[in-house]
């Protein structure tokens, strides 16, 4: 408890849960990275690539991502409303249920209980648990908002509200399924309809977990860490509503040239291009906030994280819509290019912003200073170099594979059999593993730095 009566226990609990699932998810990622060029690592059924892939995506997306979002949301919520959490015990229960769900989720996915619907692979009993903890979170968000002492809701709160509402709709609609046993269910949708629902969900889960709450953090912690107000309030209003509106139309750009009706694909393509505008609205707002104070990039380690993060967001939101164009999609889809794209968003934008938010928040809730700014800088450079090497390697690999799939001989026959297009990528996969190690080293520095920070004796007030 702080002086204002804010509940920091649950913030700290979620923050360190996030770090725990981050390390676990990355270790699994590294293991799979080796499996891609050395299948001998598929030692047991539960270590086989097909099962690990979903543990990796769920562990990092739901485990690390959501825990980081809950930690920062509970913090921002209390500070921006100047009101302690309305239901602190509910929040504490939320923390326990969340971690139990992630642990059971990981175990069940290791065991092959997998609905195969991307980013929504958990089986039906755990889907119910996810809905329960989401409702617990929503009760605190809206309860605290209604009781708030600050009349105006700041931008970050809009994004938290937007996420809370949209994720509820997405998760429930996507996971409507008929159980046949405790561990197995079938979705109510079939074929092309199922594909359409699933990618509406799959795309927007990225929008409302890896974009909305991360923007909430960006809009809150960037001004806090730099002492500079957000450049344009009006731009942030336009960006918020346009983003909230346009995101939902674009899921079918994941289904270009599939049997899904062409008009849905084309609508998705058009809205994907439109989506560049609100995305860049936030990018521009971020850059202009630093107007005249760009020296902070050198002097303030937090500004560096935020500006690098928003830059990757900008690149990500340009690359995404371009990949969604039918002609480019025909070349890039199903290759490692897309894998590179996803990881720029997660390893660049999401992790950079969560890292900086934690660096700002954790020392404050413990009433102390960060253990080491030097280590924070080391963390920054390691994850920047790791991530950039990782993603560029995958883009090149993707271009090569796309070109090899398309290549024909003068007589019109295919130039390469499929296996050639795979084995030619092994050098890239090896480099990707090394880049992943560099990134992982950076994350270990991050975790170490925060553990050392909370182990310090709290300073006396006013010292």
């Amino acid at each position: 408890m702080s002086d204002a009566g804010y509940n920091y226990r649950v913030v700290r609990g979620f923050a360190f849960s996030a770090l725990f699932w981050l390390v676990i998810g990355l270790i699994i990622g590294l293991w799979m990275a080796v499996e891609m060029f050395n299948p001998a690592l598929n030692i047991t059924p539960w270590l086989s690539f097909g099962r690990l892939r979903v543990v990796h995506t769920n562990g990092l997306g739901l485990g690390f991502g959501l825990a980081g979002i809950f930690a920062t949301s509970y913090y921002m919520l209390q500070h921006l409303t100047r009101t302690p959490l309305l239901f602190p015990r509910l929040a504490q229960a939320h923390l326990y249920i969340f971690n139990a769900a992630i642990a059971l989720g990981a175990l069940s996915l290791f065991a092959g209980m997998n609905t195969t619907r991307e980013y929504g692979e958990l089986e039906w009993p755990l889907d119910i648990v996810v809905v329960i903890f989401w409702v617990m979170f929503a009760i605190n968000v809206f309860g605290t908002l209604i009781k708030r002492n600050e009349k105006q809701m700041y931008i970050s709160l809009w994004y938290i509200i937007g996420m809370t509402v949209a994720i509820a709709i997405l998760y429930i609609v996507n996971n409507l399924e008929v159980p046949v046993s405790l561990f197995k269910s079938y979705t109510i949708y079939s074929g092309a309809n199922d594909a359409n629902v699933e990618w509406w969900y799959g795309h927007n889960i990225v929008g409302f977990i890896f974009t909305f709450p991360i923007l909430a953090m960006f809009y809150y912690y960037l001004p806090k860490s730099t002492g500079l107000p957000i450049y344009s309030h009006r731009l942030s209003i336009i960006s918020f509503w346009a983003l909230n509106f346009a995101y939902l139309w674009t899921g079918a750009h994941h289904l270009m040239l599939t049997p899904l009706p062409e008009w849905i694909q084309t609508v998705a393509m058009a809205f994907s291009i439109f989506l560049i505008a609100p995305s860049w609205g936030s990018v521009v707002n971020g850059y202009y906030t630093l107007q005249g104070n760009w020296d902070q990039i050198r002097t303030n380690y937090l500004a560096k994280f935020f500006i690098a993060g928003i830059t990757f967001y900008g690149l990500q939101t340009l690359q995404g819509p371009l990949q969604g164009l039918r002609t480019l999609n025909a070349f890039f889809h199903y290759t490692d290019w897309v894998v590179g794209h996803v990881h720029m968003g997660t390893m660049g934008w999401v992790t950079m912003v969560i890292s900086a938010s934690f660096y700002y928040m954790i020392p404050r809730i413990n009433n102390t200073e960060l253990h080491s700014i030097k280590l924070a800088n080391l963390h920054f450079w390691l994850i920047l170099i790791g991530q950039f090497t990782w993603t560029i390697t995958m883009w090149v690999a993707g271009i090569q594979q796309g070109a090899m799939w398309k290549a024909t001989n003068p007589d019109g026959s295919l130039m390469y059999n499929f296996l050639d297009t795979v084995t030619s990528l092994y050098p890239y996969y090896q480099l990707r593993f090394v880049a992943g190690l560099v990134y992982f080293a950076g994350i270990l520095v991050f975790v170490w730095n925060l553990i050392m920070t909370v182990r310090q004796q709290p300073e006396k007030a006013g010292s």
Binding site: W158, N196, T258, P261, Y334, V422
Partner: protein, 223 residues
Amino acid sequence: MGITSKPTVFALLAAAVVLLGTTVTVFIPLFMPSTQPISPYIKPYTAIEQEGRDIYMREGCNNCHTQTVRPLRTEVLRYGEYSKPEEFAYDRPFLWGSRRTGPDLNRVGGKYPDSWHYKHTASPQSMFEKSNMPPYAWLAKNPLDTSISFKKTSTLGYGYSESDVQQQISEYRATVTDENYSSKESRDQVTPPELRKELTEMDALIAYLQKLGRDVKNMEAKK
């Protein structure tokens, strides 16, 4: 400033905005027959094929193999006829995938004999030294659990009676355990002796793989 001081109104408005695109591109297509047409040529999976499909899902095969051939020249050359929406009427869930670490499988049915699949599934590296596909030899060591096969096919609305399902199971067992089964040698190589007279998970998986795209091939042949 109006709604930024009214959280409930704000949330309702946010939900309404979210539901606009959702309604047009997702909810309305659910009720348009053209989104997921059906064809008399496309038959539901047998109970065994469905069990195989569930094993395909359990092992996350969809993480590396797509099941949709795009209408592109080199793709049709590589895999065969491009995918049509009616083929997927019984697919719950769809398994189109998003990454081709391995080749597309939508036209794999009938492309190779069962013996090829037994050998390849058990050890891809024994056939393609540099392949990065995980070996799945242990699938042949697991007896196939058919205890809820009927419940599965009835939940999925395939229209089989309980005795239909029992018959499909015993017929397929008879096929793969027959002394004259064309792929007996390779099946016996990967299946432990005590399971050679039983159905294994690998049998079901292969039955499923052999179904993929077969109805379409039959449909094309009848034209």
